[in-house]
């Protein structure tokens, strides 16, 4: 029950285009209930069979949905990543100190924009990883429910197949994320005086949508792993976030000045 709510929250908070791409957890739960209530033999056998078939069909179609969406996004990210790199190079080559039309002001201006773009791009990719993970978690949970309610043995083989699905194999996105982090660290080293100035000024949160999403995702992750009544050895240990207070205070509704 708790996961269903958490998932719903996540879906509400997520990037708008992604809303209908998440797991239809509720639907699947209904089916499990249907299967377990209709007896497999004698009078209920037809309903039971139908519900079961529908369950498997829905599972498969959901997985297909994840795969399609994930790979679509991944493709986008590959393209955008390359374009970002090109753009940085171009700015360095034209506006940079050793460029064709060096201009410190313009260079700084452009670089600022690029930095923002990188951060948001990074965020979006991380959110895709989160998308993948939360859907996996949902699948694992619903399969566990199925096995428990119906005494079936669907979970183990099915989850094995899920682990091989494209949407779960997030290696490439992860690599792109790390490359972004590297990009930010090398192209935009933090300067001392900047840090000093920042401390004295009030600022608004930039990149509202993605940032908010990321916070929400972290919080949700923690909630989900808080440990439920059915905590078993297949469950993950609770999540302990290092900067929990900071994160919690960052959970904002609208642009609020952070002092």
């Amino acid at each position: 029950m708790k996961f269903g709510k958490r998932l719903k929250q996540q879906v509400q908070e997520t990037l708008p285009d992604w809303r209908d791409k998440y797991l239809s957890y509720k639907e699947l739960k209904k089916l499990v209930r249907l299967i377990s209530s209709a007896p497999p033999f004698s009078y209920g056998s037809v309903e039971h069979g139908m519900a079961e078939a529908e369950f498997v069909r829905l599972l498969n179609s959901e997985i297909e949905k994840f795969n399609t969406f994930f790979m679509e996004q991944e493709e986008d990210y590959i393209i955008r990543h390359e374009e970002l790199k090109q753009r940085i190079q171009k700015v360095i080559d034209t506006l940079g100190p050793s460029g064709s039309q060096p201009s410190e002001a313009a260079y700084k201006e452009e670089m600022k924009k690029i930095r923002k773009n990188i951060v948001n791009f990074h965020g979006e990719m991380v959110l895709l990883e989160n998308y993948s993970n939360i859907n996996y978690t949902g699948l694992a949970k619903i399969l566990k429910k199925y096995d428990k309610r119906t005494g079936g043995l669907l979970r183990l083989p099915f989850i094995q197949k899920v682990l091989e699905q494209p949407f779960f194999i997030t290696d490439l996105v992860s690599k792109l994320v790390k490359q972004c982090e590297y990009m930010i660290d090398t192209v935009f080293p933090v300067e001392e005086e900047e840090i000093m100035k920042e401390r004295r000024e009030s600022i608004t949160v930039a990149g509202e949508g993605i940032f908010r999403n990321t916070i929400a995702a972290l919080m949700t992750m923690q909630e989900i792993r808080r440990g439920s009544s059915t905590h078993s050895h297949f469950s993950l240990p609770p999540l302990n976030l290092p900067d929990f207070d900071l994160i919690q205070s960052s959970q904002l509704n609208s642009p609020i000045p952070i002092v």
Binding site: N67, E75, R80, N120, A140, E164, M221
Partner: protein
């Protein structure tokens, strides 16, 4: 559905319109097959080769060089569907085909959704002639220039007539052969969902940076993103399994990315309202932005890290579960074969066996040994996080625990294991030595 197609192909090639008409009229089925074949060249290799060999037997109307010209065969196909009274299609094939091209809006999204729609099992029956036609048409926007290309091509001349006149198997086989023919090495993997019992859905190309690089190179060689055509790029890239659909959609994405460079929030973001945006810009000093961005970056980094850890843990848990399941099955088999009191010949089976005596349910077996995974994972996890978490488990859970990281829950599965806890300490190390589990 594929079986039907195959059996139809087996019938004499010279039966002309009859068999062809049959093939075409079952447009829904055929379309599905066409997509299926287009979709998974690897999966359907056998079919492809049988089609190819048949076409050769059928008189070799199409020398191999033709196979790459998709528009050629599309037209041929449409032409020949003219003969089929099931379809309401204009009589003058070429003329009206061009008209149709101009009139039908070509949208990439439409193509993809159409293909998706067509290919999925449930929607196969609803496949429309129009949808399928759209798909063919959007295969190549630049139809006209390519026609002249075809007409001028010497090799094509003799078969041009044959292309335009009904030639059942060849046109039917074109799409399939097209896939087969682009036989060059590349990093393409057409992904099909192994879970589906139904025919595989459209092949989703999983792009990689290397493949994209090849794409960009091809585009640049063809004069840039605006001038390059999907067909040209496809040819230039020379990658096996890559279809024009893949290239077309990728090209579209590429063009969008170039001419709408990374906006501040990304394309799928909800934008701040103009007023808010201005306000925040005023408030932000140049350095102010940096702090917010840095904070954002930090949080994102953290989420990423957590996700990685979580994912790895999930993988390991399931891996271990599967491994244990396999061992369990093996053990079962051994017991069935042997007499009732099997002497323990090795260390491991005996350990398993003793466990069997204590808990019969498979879950319990898996559950108990998964503790080992977690313990090992905890100890070898470089980030302090997981160790922290397991310590917090010890603090939070009221259930009795054996040692750090090993928690016995109130879960009913656990109760029978309680007495087994201590002896298991030895088993942990023994099982750790198992091959396959690292």
């Amino acid at each position: 559905m594929i079986r039907n197609l195959a059996s139809q192909q087996a019938s004499p090639l010279s039966s002309g319109n009859g068999s062809v008409g049959h093939l075409v009229s079952s447009s829904s089925r055929f379309t599905n097959d066409m997509n299926v074949s287009a979709a998974s060249p690897q999966g359907k290799q056998s079919h492809n080769s049988s089609f190819i060999s048949q076409s050769q037997r059928g008189g070799g109307n199409f020398p191999p060089t033709h196979y790459c010209h998709s528009e050629g065969h599309s037209t041929a196909f449409i032409n020949h569907s003219d003969d089929n009274k099931d379809l309401s299609w204009p009589i003058d094939p070429l003329q009206d085909f061009h008209n149709f091209v101009e009139n039908v809006p070509v949208q990439n999204g439409q193509v993809e959704s159409t293909v998706g729609v067509i290919a999925s099992e449930d929607h196969a029956k609803r496949t429309d002639w129009h949808e399928w036609a759209d798909q063919l048409i959007s295969v190549d926007d630049e139809l006209e220039p390519d026609w002249s290309e075809i007409l001028n091509d010497v090799n094509m001349k003799d078969s041009k007539l044959k292309m335009l006149s009904p030639s059942p198997n060849n046109s039917v086989q074109q799409p399939l052969i097209h896939q087969h023919q682009t036989a060059h090495s590349g990093e393409v993997c057409a992904v099909t969902n192994p879970l589906l019992a139904a025919p595989p859905t459209k092949s989703r190309m999983r792009w990689t940076p290397e493949l994209h690089e090849a794409f960009v190179e091809a585009v640049n060689q063809l004069g840039g993103s605006e001038r390059a055509t999907p067909k040209g790029v496809l040819k230039q890239m020379n990658v096996e399994g890559l279809t024009i659909y893949h290239v077309k959609s990728h090209l579209q994405k590429y063009r969008t990315a170039r001419y709408k460079p990374e906006s501040s929030e990304g394309t799928s973001e909800k934008k701040l309202s103009p007023v808010e945006e201005m306000k925040s810009l005023d408030l932000k000093t140049s350095t102010g932005i940096s702090e917010a961005l840095r904070l954002q970056m930090e949080v994102q980094k953290q989420l990423h890290e957590q996700l990685e850890i979580q994912r790895n843990l999930q993988l390991r848990i399931e891996e271990q579960g599967r491994h244990l399941q396999e061992m369990f099955e093996k053990q079962r088999k051994m017991e069935v074969d042997k007499s009732k009191a099997p002497p323990p010949s090795q260390n491991d089976p005996s350990l398993l066996q003793s466990k069997l005596e204590r808990s019969s349910a498979n879950d319990k077996l898996e559950a108990s040994d998964l503790d080992c995974v977690k313990t090992r994972f905890d100890t070898c996890n470089a980030g302090g996080l997981l160790e922290e978490s397991s310590q917090s488990i010890s603090r939070k859970h009221k259930a009795p625990e054996d040692r750090n990281g090993q928690v016995v829950d109130k879960n009913e599965e656990e109760t029978s294991l309680a007495p087994a806890k201590r002896p298991r300490t030895d088993e942990t190390t023994a099982l750790s030595a198992e091959p396959g589990s690292d």
